[in-house]
Symmetry: C2
Subunit: 451 residues, 2 copies
C-alpha cells in the first residue's frame, strides 16, 4: 500500500499530463465525424491499461469499441470490475465556453475541458490506481477487470454485447463505477441508490388541420387546451403525482434512510443561486434531498403545438404534445408505471380529441445496501483518500448500464462519488479539480487493496 501511494506521489505530474492528453481527444460518440477521435481515445485507454500491467484489448461491435483489461490475476483473491467510459458529450454550444472544450486549461487547481469529470478524469484515475499497485508495490492484491466503453453518452449496445459474450469470465465481487460526484468539494460519497426511469410521449390530435380560431373557435375541442388539462391532472397543487397507483409500489423511507439522507449537505440559498429557480418546490413531507433522490417524479420535459413564432396566429392547432419522463424508486417497475400512466391519460382525456401515448425507454431503480462488506470497504477507501467522512447518498438520475451489470452479472455496484458537485457535466465549461483527480487515484489504491 505504501509503495502504491508513494508511486502516485512521484508520478503526479505525469498522470496529470496524461489526463490532459486524453482530454485533448474529442471523443464525442454522438457525432459520427468524431468517431475516428473516439477510436483514438479507446487506443489511448488501452495503452494506459497496458502500462498498468493489464492484458488489454478492444471489443469491436456495431459501434464504438469497448476497451477491456485484466490484471492482478490470482486465485482465491477478490475480483473487482471497474466500469467507465471514454466518450464524452457534445461540447455545443461552443460560444458559452470560456476556453475551447478540447484544449484543457488548468487554472487555480481547476481543469476545464469537455469530459474532464464525466468521465475521463475519474475513470483514468482508476487505471492509474492499478498502475500504482503494479509498478509501485510489486503487484495487485485483487483481480481487476476494466470495462471502459465508448457509447455511454449516445446509447449504443456494444458494451451490452461484450457483457453478454463474456459474462462467465466477468464474475466479480463488486462493480466499481467512478462516474458520480461527491456531496461537496473534498467530500466524497458512496451513492447507494439510483432512480429508474420511464420515458413517454403524449400526442393529442383534434382537427385534421389548424383551424381559424375565429371561424371555428367554440365548436371543436382545442388539442392544446386539452393537453394543458391533461398535464394539469398529473399532479396536485403541491407537486404530488396524482396518477392512480403511482405510489403503490413505492417503499416507504425508513428512519435510518431518512437519517442518512439528512446528513447530505443541502444549502437552500446556494441551491437556488445555482439553479436560478425562484423557490424550492416539491412533495410535502420530504426534504429536498429526499425529493431529489428517493421520491419518484413525473416531469414534462417539453411541450409543443400550434403557433410558436413571434406575435400571434389565430388558430386552433391540429395537434399538441408533450414529452414525459418519470423517475422511479424501489419497487416501481417501468412497465407498471407506463401502464398506470396510460390508464390515467385515458381516464382524464378531455372529450373531443384523440390520444396517442408512445412509451420510450425504461430502466428500473437501483438500491443497494451501503452496509455490505464491499460498500464499507469503498466508504473506508474514500475516507482515507479524501481525509473526510464519506457521505452516503442516493442519486436522482438513472445509469442504465448499472441495471445491465446487475441483470447479467448479479454484482453489487459501488458508485464512488469522487469529485465536487457543480462539475457542469453535459454543460459548457465542464470542471474537474486536480485534487479530486489525485483523490480518486488514492481512493482506487485503497479500494484495490480489497480489505
Amino acid at each position: 500500500m505504501d509503495g502504491a501511494l508513494r508511486y502516485l506521489e512521484t508520478h503526479r505530474e505525469r498522470f496529470l499530463t496524461q489526463l490532459l492528453a486524453y482530454l485533448r481527444i474529442p471523443s464525442v460518440s454522438a457525432q459520427r465525424d468524431r468517431h475516428p477521435d473516439a477510436r483514438r481515445a479507446a487506443e489511448f485507454v488501452r495503452a494506459r491499461l497496458e502500462e498498468a500491467g493489464c492484458a488489454a484489448g478492444l471489443f469491436q461491435g456495431d459501434g464504438l469499441p469497448t476497451v477491456h483489461g485484466r490484471c492482478g490475476e490470482g486465485a482465491g483473491r477478490p475480483t473487482l470490475l471497474v466500469y467507465g467510459h471514454y466518450d464524452v458529450q457534445p461540447p455545443e454550444p461552443l460560444e458559452l465556453w470560456t476556453s475551447p472544450p478540447f484544449e484543457p486549461v488548468v487554472k487555480e487547481g481547476e481543469i476545464r475541458a469537455r469530459g474532464c469529470a464525466d468521465d475521463k478524469g475519474p475513470s483514468l484515475a482508476m487505471v492509474f490506481a492499478a498502475e500504482c499497485w503494479t509498478k509501485g508495490a510489486g503487484g495487485l492484491p485483487t483481480n481487476l477487470r476494466f470495462i471502459i466503453e465508448g457509447e455511454e453518452e449516445s446509447g449504443g449496445s456494444v458494451v451490452q454485447r461484450y457483457l453478454e459474450a463474456h459474462k462467465e469470465t466477468l464474475a466479480a465481487d463488486a462493480l466499481v463505477i467512478a462516474d458520480t460526484s461527491g456531496v461537496a468539494k473534498g467530500v466524497p460519497a458512496l451513492v447507494y441508490g439510483l432512480r429508474g426511469i420511464l420515458a413517454a410521449e403524449l400526442l393529442l390530435t383534434g382537427p385534421s388541420r389548424d383551424l381559424h380560431s375565429g371561424g371555428y373557435g367554440g365548436t371543436v375541442a382545442n388539442p392544446a387546451t386539452a393537453l394543458g388539462r391533461l398535464i394539469g391532472s398529473l399532479h396536485d397543487r403541491r407537486g404530488t403525482v396524482a396518477i392512480e397507483g403511482f405510489y403503490g409500489a413505492v417503499k416507504p423511507l425508513e428512519a435510518t434512510e431518512r437519517a442518512r439522507l439528512a446528513k447530505v449537505p443541502f444549502v437552500e440559498t446556494a441551491f437556488l443561486a445555482e439553479t436560478g429557480s425562484p423557490s424550492l418546490f416539491g412533495e410535502e413531507g420530504y426534504t429536498s434531498t429526499e425529493r431529489e433522490t428517493a421520491r419518484p417524479t413525473c416531469e414534462i420535459n417539453g411541450l409543443y403545438g400550434g403557433y410558436q413564432g413571434e406575435g400571434s396566429k389565430t388558430i386552433i392547432p391540429s395537434r399538441a404534445g408533450c414529452k414525459i419522463t418519470c423517475r422511479l424508486v424501489p419497487d416501481q417497475e417501468p412497465e407498471a408505471i407506463g401502464e398506470a400512466l396510460r390508464l390515467h391519460m385515458e381516464k382524464h382525456l378531455p372529450p373531443g380529441v384523440r390520444m396517442e401515448l408512445r412509451m420510450g425507454h425504461g430502466a428500473p431503480p437501483v438500491l443497494t445496501d451501503p452496509e455490505t462488506r464491499w460498500a464499507k470497504l469503498a466508504r473506508g477507501a474514500l475516507e482515507k483518500a479524501f481525509g473526510k467522512p464519506c457521505a452516503l447518498t442516493r442519486a436522482g438520475g438513472s445509469i442504465p448500464v448499472v441495471n445491465l451489470f446487475q441483470k447479467l452479472l448479479g454484482v453489487q455496484p459501488l458508485l464512488i462519488g469522487t469529485y465536487a458537485p457543480g462539475e457542469r457535466a453535459h454543460s459548457p465549461n465542464e470542471r474537474y479539480f486536480v485534487e479530486d483527480f489525485y483523490g480518486a487515484i488514492r481512493a482506487g489504491i485503497h479500494l484495490f487493496a480489497g480489505k
Copy 2:
C-alpha cells in the same frame, strides 16, 4: 336596373378575364419583396374604378397605398361606402397547392388561386357592379365611395390614416363589405355580428437554465407542468371558460337571436368531415352556430417549452409559454377581459415559477341590427342576386377595420356574404365559384339601387 343587369350579361367573359388578370398579381402585403406587385394590384384596381366612371386615386402612406374612388355624385341621394382589400395572404406552403397560387385555374365552375375569395373576387365584383350602372344604365342611383386597401392581411395603418384624414368627406349611410362567406353554396348571408378579440402571450419561467430531470427532478417547479395546470384552469371540462368575470358583460342571447341563428344551416357530419375533428365540443346549452359566432371563447393558439425534438431529453425546461386569443361578444371589452385574464393567471399561478403575461392586439365585438332599412335592403339585394332567401348570421372572426369605420364614421357595416363557405381563405388551394362572382356583381347592382 335592367340596363345594369343586361350590361353584366354582355360583359360576363370580360369581367372574369379581368378577375383572372387581377389574381395573377402576387400582391402579398406581408412579404416585402412582393410590394412592387402589391402596388401593381393597386394600380389595377384604380384602373377598374376609372373604367367604372369613378374619380380614383391612391392614398400613399407609410406602407402600401389605399385605393379610393368616388362615383355617382349627386345631392339628396344615399351614399354607400364600399370597403375591400387588394392584398392577399402569403401562399405558403406552396407544396400543398394543386396548381400554382398565382396562376389561376378555372375548372368545373371553380376558380383556384390565392386571393380569389379573400378578397379580390368579391371586392372587384363591387367595382364591376358600379360599372354596370354607369355604363349599362346611364349612371348610378347612389353615391359610392370605394376604399380598397392593401394592408388588410398584414396589419398596416395606411387605411386608418386615410380615414382619419378624410372622415368629413366619407360620411355615408352604410358601409358595404364583401369579404365574408354565405352559409352554403348559393346561399348568401348578411353577417350582422363579428366577435371581438384579445390576444395575449403567457410565459412561465423557473430555473435559469434547463436542469437535468434526474439530478433536480422533484426539488423545483417545472414550468411546463405549471403551464399545463394554468391552461387547465381556463375552462371547465365542458369547455365553459372558467376565468372569473369572463361572462359578466356578455349579453344573454335573446329568443329572436337564437331563432335567427337556428336557421343557419349546420350539418354535423359535413362539419366533422370538413374539419377532421373527432366530435363536436363546446359550451353546454348552445348550438354549434351559437358557439361559433355568439359565444365568447378562450383558445390556446400554440404552446412551447423544453425539448421538442425526436426521442426524449431528460430536462426540466427553464421556461414554457403559450399564445392565447379570446374571442369576444357584446358587451365584452378587450381591456376588461385582459384584466380578468391577468387576475385569473395570478390567482391560479402554481407555486415556484415566475409569470409574464403580455397583452397583444384587441378589438371589440360588433353587433348590428339586421332589421334597419339598409340591412333589409342588403338582404333583399342578396336574395334577388342569388335567388335564395338570405341567411342572417353572425361570424366568429374579427375584422378590426369594421371597428375603425364604426369609430371614425359611425356608419353601419353591411357584411354581405356572397361566396360558398369552405373557400380555404389563408390556406392552400383557395377557391371561388365563378357563379358566386356573378352573384356578387348582381348583389352589388341591386344594393347600389339604394332602395
